[in-house]
Amino acid sequence: MRIVIRLRRAEGDLERLLGTFRRRGWQVSGFEARGSARDGSAMTVHATLEGERSPEVLARQVARLIEVEAVEIQEDEAPVARLAGVREV
């Protein structure tokens, strides 16, 4: 499963993201993070994850992180779940 996350930069942002993957039962087999704003205020993460649990539930758990702006789950290259804009929780 591939997950694409857009986030605002904040201290500890990638740690929080990786910690969420691990705690929720997913193993990271691929990870790439790149700045996606000229001023360095945003980043886009592409991760490949292995796990048995629901990708949609993980997407909502990731979306709960304060700095996360959008999450997209992809399986077999096609997006299966999109969260455009994140509800504040």
């Binding site: 201290e11 500890g12 740690e15 929080r16 910690g19 705690r23 629901s54 949609e56 539930v57 909502r60 758990q61 979306a63 709960r64 304060i66 509800r87 504040e88 929780v89």
Partner: protein, 564 residues
């Protein structure tokens, strides 16, 4: 003005009037700023108690609780309280001192990466890197702590930042926060929920602690009265509708009532109001509400379909969801009659068997005699479950209990927080001989501030709930549960300057209850009980809730009228 003063001023601007804490090296600038502040600081005797007391204050008031500690060990001692607040969605702002930024990452004295340490147990964490950011960070921490699903937020303050001069711009007080907007559930989903309710013949309302957090108690109560649907509650949801309401089947789950658990097993529709299908409530998940469609109301999308798939998800403002679902339900009379028959048939409250004190009986009597607005704060263990089973609650904010984390040591400091939150109402701490020893030092805090707290210490000279599990599920192979060498708790309390007395016979209970309720506080009542008394019913961990055990029948017993 320096960064520390800006922090204190921002706390004042947020309306904070009381903070719980313990000073130390890295947080010294903040304590210096407190000298000139109108904030009231409560000095506890262990940082863990600061976190629990802030939680108790927040649980009782609904406001954001604030605790302060220094770096390193001060911060680590807060961790259990932070985790507890996270597990039960309690709004809290945690301020920690930190070594100077130049020393961070050098293994300096009392240096600890508290941001990293607390990541899994906070809603968010900040390290304040510039004194000019202090006010903004504090205000954002409060906004995050109290909006949406509440939770603890960390503000870590390096010492050089606390000491740095703040420019005029950053001295401005509270920013105009964005409005706390809350989306209403999708109307189409509500319409599907209404149709599901109207189809149902055996609907059941399942109430969680989130209803109170959503300020949706009036809407919940209106829904109960309109639908006349029977309801069950989680530990955290108790009192959302008064626990003695005729349609209340009691608490569900591991130590739930038989009526509640049988109703869950038999219902054909489960309306989950801000609960999260916790394993202590569901038992074996695959066998939980096996015949039911689920409507799940929650503010947190991550809770929906996490453990049990929701047929209808109502995300957002629970007040709107509950209001729009409320309508009279036809054709549920037979179901309601059946559930109330279970309630009548399986009454909790086995009578005392001998001349010894029976804790459930004492708690029930205490509940009857205490003022209706009394607050009960409990610790964790058998006594906690007896409070949940036998004390009457009219409101969930009168029942302070460590639900998700189950943290022994919570009770005494949480009760201290409640005493400051409700100085004019009765606060009763029910603790156990295991739990109270985890924060016993707080008797000094009670004495220092002359808090009129009543402590009911249920002493079975054992770690009772662990002992019960070892008896029932480990073939009576008792391991490290004996506390028969406890200190003399009456003398201990008196040593702290707190009047105390002992009760060890059933015929002393009435007089003891009278003294607890009507006598002056602080007071500790040491209640000696039979170590072999267990909490009933009980569901074996991992077993379905339908397989409850009780003291007469240590084997599954089908419900009258149950189909399975």
């Amino acid at each position: 003005m320096n960064g520390a003063a800006a922090l204190v001023r921002a706390l004042e601007a947020e309306g904070v009037d009381i903070v719980f804490g313990y000073p130390g090296g890295a947080i010294l600038p903040v304590y210096d700023a407190l000298v000139d502040s109108k904030l009231r600081h409560i000095l506890v005797r262990h940082e863990q108690a600061a976190a629990f007391a802030a939680e108790g204050y927040a649980r009782a008031t609904g406001q954001v609780g604030v605790c302060i500690a220094t770096s390193g060990p001060g911060a680590t001692n807060l961790v259990t309280g932070i985790a507890d607040a996270f597990a039960d969605s309690i709004p809290m702002v945690v301020v920690t001192g930190q070594v100077a930024t130049s020393l961070m990452g050098t293994d300096a004295f009392q240096e600890l990466d508290v941001l990293g340490l607390t990541m899994p147990i906070v809603k968010h964490g900040f390290v304040v890197r510039h004194a000019s950011d202090m006010a903004d960070v504090v205000h954002e921490a409060f906004r995050l702590a109290r909006t949406g699903r509440p939770g603890p937020v960390l503000v870590d303050v390096p010492k050089d930042v606390a000491n740095a001069t703040v420019g005029e711009r950053a001295q401005s007080v509270r920013l105009a926060s964005p409005p706390d907007t809350l989306a209403s559930p999708d109307p189409e989903a509500i319409a599907r929920g209404v149709r599901a309710l109207e189809r149902a013949r055996k609907p059941l309302l399942y109430i969680g602690g989130g209803v109170r957090r959503a300020k949706a108690i009036p809407e919940l109560r209106a829904l109960v009265e309109t639908t006349r649907m029977p309801f069950v509650s989680t530990l955290m949801g108790l009192g959302s509708v008064p626990t003695d309401h005729p349609l209340s089947l009691g608490m569900l789950g591991m130590h739930g009532t038989k009526a509640a658990n049988y109703a869950v097993q038999e219902c054909d529709l489960l309306l989950c109001a801000c609960a999260r299908f916790d394993d202590r409530a569901t038992g074996k998940l695959a066998d939980f509400a096996p015949h039911a469609e689920v409507i799940h109301i929650d503010i947190d999308p991550a809770e929906v379909s996490k453990l049990r798939r929701a047929n209808v998800a109502l995300l957002g403002d629970a007040r709107v969801a509950l209001r729009d679902l409320a309508r009279p339900l036809d054709n549920i009379d037979a179901w309601r009659t059946q559930t109330l028959e279970w309630k009548r048939q399986y009454v909790l409250d086995p009578s005392p068997r001998d001349e010894r004190v029976h804790a459930p009986t004492l708690l029930r009597r205490l509940s009857e005699r205490a003022p209706r607005d009394a607050t009960f704060a409990c610790d964790v263990g058998q006594h906690q479950m007896w409070v949940a089973q036998h004390v009457r609650f009219e409101s969930p904010d009168r029942h302070l209990t460590s639900g998700g984390l189950g943290a022994m040591g919570f009770g005494l400091p949480a009760a201290i927080g409640a005493c400051f939150a409700r100085p004019n109402s009765r606060v009763i701490c029910v603790s156990g001989d295991g739990s109270i020893m985890m924060n016993l030092q707080e008797l000094a805090t009670i004495q220092r501030y002359a808090l009129p707290l009543r402590i009911v210490l249920i002493d079975n000279r054992a770690l009772g709930l662990v002992r019960q599990w070892q008896e029932l599920f480990h073939e009576e192979r008792y391991s490290e549960i004996d506390l028969s060498d406890n200190p003399d708790f009456v003398r201990v309390a008196e040593g702290f300057g707190i009047p105390a007395f002992r009760v060890d016979r059933a015929d002393q209970v009435e007089r003891a209850v009278e003294r607890i309720v009507d006598g002056p506080g602080p007071l500790l009542c040491h209640v000696v009980v039979d170590p072999t008394t267990n909490v009933w019913p009980i569901v074996k961990p991992g077993a379905p809730n339908s397989s409850m055990l009780d003291d007469d029948h240590k084997a599954p017993r089908p419900a009258a009228g149950a189909t399975r």
